[in-house]
């Protein structure tokens, strides 16, 4: 019988701890498929964040480092500077990257560190139980803004791709989503492209992926994907912000 679908070699054959309806699993798979297809697995080192994906190292079939809160870009910088021949990626959530690790990602991007960041944005702190993130939407209820995010007190949600786009150095920035098959196909292309650029030693690359958190949003998995479409996509537009070829930008 012909095999039409199988687990990527870059993923381990284990059950993950992610909640039902969370799209970390989809994003993990897209990263793994990209590494497989580009033949990079055996020289790849991932850097895990703090947050829901802290255990990513248990699921990827590559070497992994586990980082303090927000510091994955600093670890990746240290590693990649000493081993430019290896493929390094950080996998970070919104609290990790846009809050406590804001300085590290901005400066790593600005230095043009030649690693890849997969930025998973679900607009909430997942692992600690649903607190407000810098990416939480206005009016969105979380455990630390129980009356909804008040932008007069906390400012507007931070759009990382737009913010990083203001820098001259980072050359590949793209925002994608994974709440429909079409979006997943687009996201795969972006993630693979980011690793391709790194393999060619070209540039820092960041792919922001709009993700779900049914558990902390208090929604069913199917209504969570709808919530992404209705609430996140209008504010966080799916867009290719920059490419090193300066082609294909919207």
């Amino acid at each position: 019988m012909k095999t039409t679908f199988e687990r990527p070699e870059s993923l381990q054959d284990v059950v993950t701890h992610y909640c039902p309806g969370c799209t970390h699993g989809v994003i993990h798979r897209l990263v793994a498929e990209s590494l497989d297809e580009l033949g990079l697995r055996e020289r790849t080192v991932g850097v895990a964040p703090v947050g829901c994906s802290v255990l990513a190292y248990n699921y990827f079939n590559t070497d992994f480092l586990e980082s303090p809160h927000g510091r994955a870009p600093a670890l990746a910088t240290g590693f990649k500077r000493l081993r430019p021949d290896m493929i390094v990626f950080t996998y970070q959530g919104d609290g990790d990257l846009a809050s406590i690790g804001m300085a590290e990602i901005v400066h790593a991007a600005n230095r043009g560190e030649k690693f890849t960041t997969i930025f998973v944005n679900n607009a909430i702190y997942g692992m600690t139980g649903g607190q407000m993130a810098p990416t939480t939407m206005p009016g969105q209820i979380t455990t630390t803004c129980p009356f909804g995010r008040d932008v007069a007190q906390t400012g507007m949600p931070i759009r990382m791709c737009e913010l990083l786009s203001s820098l001259m150095t980072p050359l590949y920035l793209e925002r994608v989503a994974v709440h429909s098959p079409m979006h997943i196909i687009q996201a795969k292309k972006a993630i693979k492209r980011a690793f391709q650029y790194q393999a060619e030693g070209r540039c820092f690359s960041l792919v922001e992926v709009l993700s779900t958190c049914p558990t902390n949003w208090g929604l069913t998995p199917s209504s969570a994907t709808e919530w992404v479409k209705q609430n996140l996509e209008p504010y966080y537009p799916i867009k290719r912000f920059k490419t090193p070829d300066n082609s294909g930008a919207d």
């Binding site: 381990q12 697995r41 055996e42 020289r43 790849t44 080192v45 850097v47 895990a48 802290v54 190292y57 248990n58 990827f60 079939n61 590559t62 070497d63 992994f64 480092l65 586990e66 980082s67 303090p68 510091r71 600093a74 670890l75 990746a76 910088t77 240290g78 590693f79 990649k80 500077r81 000493l82 081993r83 290896m86 300085a103 590290e104 901005v106 400066h107």
Partner: protein, 371 residues
């Protein structure tokens, strides 16, 4: 190799290079910035990596990532900068990676000042970051010793897969002395770095981490760490005796720059017929407790005098080692003030002229003890 005149900070930088550390991550802070300036020129010459980071927080974590390659990595900083690195130091200790850190101490707390101090002793030897861990700490008192101990620090970091910290002060960093670098640096064989992340080619993926959600696994990890610290205690105790003689009535305990000043005072008192010896710890963790106790237990020793450029931090380790066997007195200056040999002599003479040091101000007595 002939001796050359070098500034302490530059000599430390050169020593690290010669120990095979061709990678340096840094953030400028007085009084150690010359290390960064020196290496910004030298690293490109040896094909190494020099990177000025956005903060000491990032530096600490760059070291964490860089050391995961298995190469020798290091950074230098000064007190407030070392504080910012404590996050990474805890993780590096937890993940069991070799990293060398050099703290050219200045006065604190807070922003403090930029002049020499020894007030980071607690931070260096008792933790600094969170969790059950220790850092191996070495304290040079000359620039030559700073060179030798910097080279040794890399060896010990690899031997124990643990952070090793060299603590000097602004004086060590800023003064110039003749130094000699070994032609070839020989060290005993080290185990192969099978723990380094090199890509999962032909083997199971390797994970470098300090996260153990299962409490039994975390306890086991901490027990393993503590076995390592016990090994350090049996193999890495270092100290020096200066003019320790059977007729000494007073034993000074002092380290680093302060110990050198004590040596001058001791030399001058010797001419005046006052016999004082010096016990100088070189390893601050592990602390030479048994060795100090053995010296203190000698019959003629009436008083132990601890002298530091702090409000009395090593004093606690001295008191612990002496364990009540003899009176322990303290003299210190803080805030960036370096005591003169005359001040030290005055303290010693006060001890000599009062039986067993009675009447000498002590911290425990609640009297003022700063001259």
């Amino acid at each position: 190799m002939a001796k050359i005149l070098m500034k302490g900070n530059e000599a430390i930088a050169e020593a690290a290079l010669r120990a095979g550390a061709n990678n340096y991550f840094c953030y400028p802070i007085t009084p150690q910035t010359e290390v960064a300036e020196y290496l910004s020129k030298r690293m490109p010459e040896v094909g190494g990596v020099f990177l000025q980071a956005e903060s000491e927080v990032a530096v600490g974590n760059m070291l964490y990532g860089a050391s995961a390659t298995g190469k020798r990595v290091f950074s230098t900083s000064s007190s407030p900068g070392i504080s910012l690195m404590q996050e990474a130091i805890s993780y590096i200790a937890g993940a069991q990676l070799p990293v060398v850190l050099i703290n050219i101490m200045r006065g604190g707390p807070g922003l403090g000042g930029i002049l020499p101090a020894q007030s980071d002793y607690f931070q260096a030897t008792k933790g600094g970051g969170h969790g059950d861990y220790r850092v191996l700490v070495l304290a040079p008192s000359t620039i030559q010793e700073a060179v030798d101990l910097t080279m040794l620090a890399f060896h010990l970091a690899d031997k124990y897969r643990n952070p090793v910290m060299l603590i000097g002060d602004g004086m060590i960093g800023q003064m110039m002395e003749p130094v000699e670098f070994p032609e070839t640096y020989k060290e005993s064989p080290l185990p192969e770095k099978t723990w380094a992340a090199t890509g999962a080619k032909g083997r199971r993926p390797l994970i470098i981490k300090s996260l153990f959600l299962d409490p039994v696994a975390l306890e086991n990890n901490n027990i393993q760490l503590f076995k390592k610290y016990e090994q350090m205690k049996s193999e890495e105790v270092r100290y020096e005796l200066y003019k320790v003689k059977p007729d000494n009535q007073i034993l000074i305990v002092s380290y680093g720059t302060m110990a050198r000043i004590c040596q001058t005072a001791i030399d001058e008192l010797e001419g005046d017929g006052v016999s004082v010896g010096l016990f100088r710890p070189i390893s601050l963790f592990p602390y030479p407790e048994k060795e100090l106790k053995a010296e203190v237990d000698r019959a003629n020793i009436k008083t132990v005098l601890t002298i530091e450029m702090s409000m009395g931090q090593m004093l606690e380790d001295v008191e612990k080692a002496v364990c009540g066997a003899k009176p322990v007195k303290f003299f210190g200056r803080t805030g960036g003030i370096v005591p003169s040999p005359e001040e030290v002599k005055e303290q010693i003479l006060r001890l000599v002229t009062t039986a067993s040091g009675k009447g000498l101000p002590t911290r425990r007595g609640g009297e003022t003890w700063i001259s």
